[in-house]
Amino acid sequence: MLDARIPEGPLELKWTQFKATCLLINPANRRKHKVIVVGTGLAGASCAASLSELGFHVEVFTFHDSARRAHSVAAQGGINAAKNYKNDGDSIWRMFYDTVKGGDFRSREANIYRMAECSMALIDQAVAQGVPFAREYSGYLSNRSFGGVQVSRTFYARGQTGQQLLQGAYQSLMRQQKIGSVVLHTRHEMMDLVVYDNKARGIISRNLDTGEIKSHSADAVVLATGGYGKIYYLSTLAMNCNASAIWRAHKKGAYFAAPSWTQFHPTSLPQMGDYQSKLTLMSESLRNDGRIWVPKKAGDDRKPNDIPENDRDYYLERKYPSFGNLAPRDISSRAAIEQINAGHGAGPLKNAVYLDFKESIDREGKQVIEKRYGNLFNMYEKITGINAYQEPMLISPAAHFSMGGLWVDYGLMSNLKGLFVLGEANFADHGANRLGANSLLQACVDGYFISHYTIMDYLAGNGLSKTDEKGLKEQFDKDTIRVKERLQKLLSIQGDKTPETFHKELGRILYSKCGLLRNAHALQMAREELKNLQQEFHQRLLVAGEAHSINFELEKAARVEDYLQLAPLIVEDALQREESCGAHFREEFQTKEGEALRNDNDFGYVSVWESTEKGEFILHKEHLDFNYVTVSERSYK
């Protein structure tokens, strides 16, 4: 039975109640407890620094060469907080409600309320660290508004909010390292989780410079390893983002929730060719002044500027008159893919839609638009070589954010005791669709304000002193050997296809059959194709080099192997959920107008998966009770 361990009491007092009653450890005794933190993004760095400040012994791992390079660095738009600085009616309650609704009623009320509650202190914390958020001329903090809400609660630092927040967390982490209470292992990849006595007790790491495989024990393990959207190969994620840490933990017994809920960002740059390795995000803010359209006639080959008004279909404005070009992410992305699939796609590969600024330039002047979006137009030109002041941008939906992740309870602990999962790596607050600017917040809140309480609570009461040390050591030895054997096996296949080739193929299968639009038939086909691809991987994989030095190909091979195991679970999850909700759109389940058709009676739960040794998937359900909001249909018409 899954127990989310939500504290009793009214919603607005649950977290207060938890903090007031959780177990504490005396400052002098904290040093005796060691916690391993994997990941130095916003979630990991903030958690490690906060634990270290309290006096815990912390060891941190990241595959990056510096903690500052975690992919949180790439977040552009901003971070939400219910400060109500605009006096526009914002409150914890409203932010809570927007997030529950935005997630299409597929997340836990208590968690979301807590995130909104902690959002204010997070802005205070970031400012105190020196994060240079945008300011008014009066010196007060400035806000802007983001998709899916009616208030302005987004704080931002130009188009580099993630970078600036991450520097705050990174600097706090480096400060702790200098003091000596954090041991930081850069260029170390977690290869496996060590579980003993049904408790997480450490990890096996690979030193990516020397190839050394080593075990590290601890009283608790924190995974803050980010999202796995890169499983689609082409995505807005960094090249090295992966699912390996959480997938390995899953194979050791940690449940995986809602694996198929991936957000596709509507305003990414389209794929231009087969060589392409990633898709760059263009800020969503462009939709404030750009109009989205496609040619009315399928296959229209004219240049965009040669297509007259009458031959254009401004499909978002047509279908969602009240939100128009600012319809939420899932809806905008879906509408775009429908146009592309119906042959209306634009660009050389017919895989994009137009984002057109002509009207706003005519109305407000080029200078105004330049001031607003100059850096984005430059970036667009840098990447595509196209001047967007003269012709419309080409944009397309791209895999972006994983709402799914390891299942955690209210204390961010997995069903495996002592395993805490933070940030994008967990399934917690975003339900079936994440609202813009909420995930930087979630990563920060998890790490700065929640995990140290809940980890301390666990450490104080876990009874590890009774552990059979000999058995534990044997477990470490066994897992270390297994990791070595696994890598040798990957190296020894010596086939003819590189990890990259497999990853690209995997991406193609997932995009076409388990992407924005899904149906049972396509998903069943994907299941078969994935089975074959997995088989082929073990027969034809070609990994260059050897295991005892820098070998990026070996790193990729291991990550792709994990992706290939996760993909069937993603498909299974999408197949099992016979409804449409948020980012999960099953074509069989739509309203007459083509909108998502949720089925609260039969699917008002989170799908939580267990994998058996034999690779079978077992479904557990966490039923969602909504005691404070009324579950309704999400309408943006």
Partner: protein, 243 residues
Amino acid sequence: MKLTLHIWRQKNAGSKGNFKTYPLEGLDPNMSVPEMLDHLNEILIRKGEDPVAFESDCREGICGQCGFVINGHIQSPEKSATTCQTHLRSFNNDDELYIEPFRAKSFPVKKDLCIDRTAFDRIIGAGGYIGVNTGQAPEANSILIGHDTAEEAFDAAACIGCGACVATCKNASAALFTGAKIAHLAMLPQGKLEAKARARAMVEQMDAEGFGACTFTRACEVVCPQSVSVANIVKMNKEFLWG
């Protein structure tokens, strides 16, 4: 598109490296430089040769992970761009490209194009922070910061830690990197209290890492992908000497 690549190959930190030549055909002008290397590596691997070791992660110019020297240009022949933001349309058909790692004593080469930039982390660790623990912060709007100060602080804080400034400097100085952090934090009221001690500790660490002295040639500012200004070096000197 056709290019001839001369790439620095070096087995490990201890060995001597040299350029090796790889003619490449069938390139697309829209490929980025790392994508071109991906393409080359696929070919090398199929031929049973060791692929070129190079690092990149975000491939959109923000993580600071990539960065090579291309025909003597640090990061990129383009202005304010990283290597990953450089596309083949910046070159001409049949061009020869010499690609090598950043060169600096404090950035030892690990393999091929991969260098060790951990010296930067140690400089930050020495004092590149505001000493605030989680939970201590006052209400955010109780610290007023003028619009222009916030913007200026941002300009300094925009550094991506790529090391281009060091690589281009004839003295291999880290003054721009260090100065940018010192200036970013000293400019803000929250960071003023520790400004002098911070500047001392960071400059001492910078020297201890073996970076050279700054002779103010301003070469760093030119190659910085984020256009971080040398005015930050002046601020650093001020904090360090008179703070």
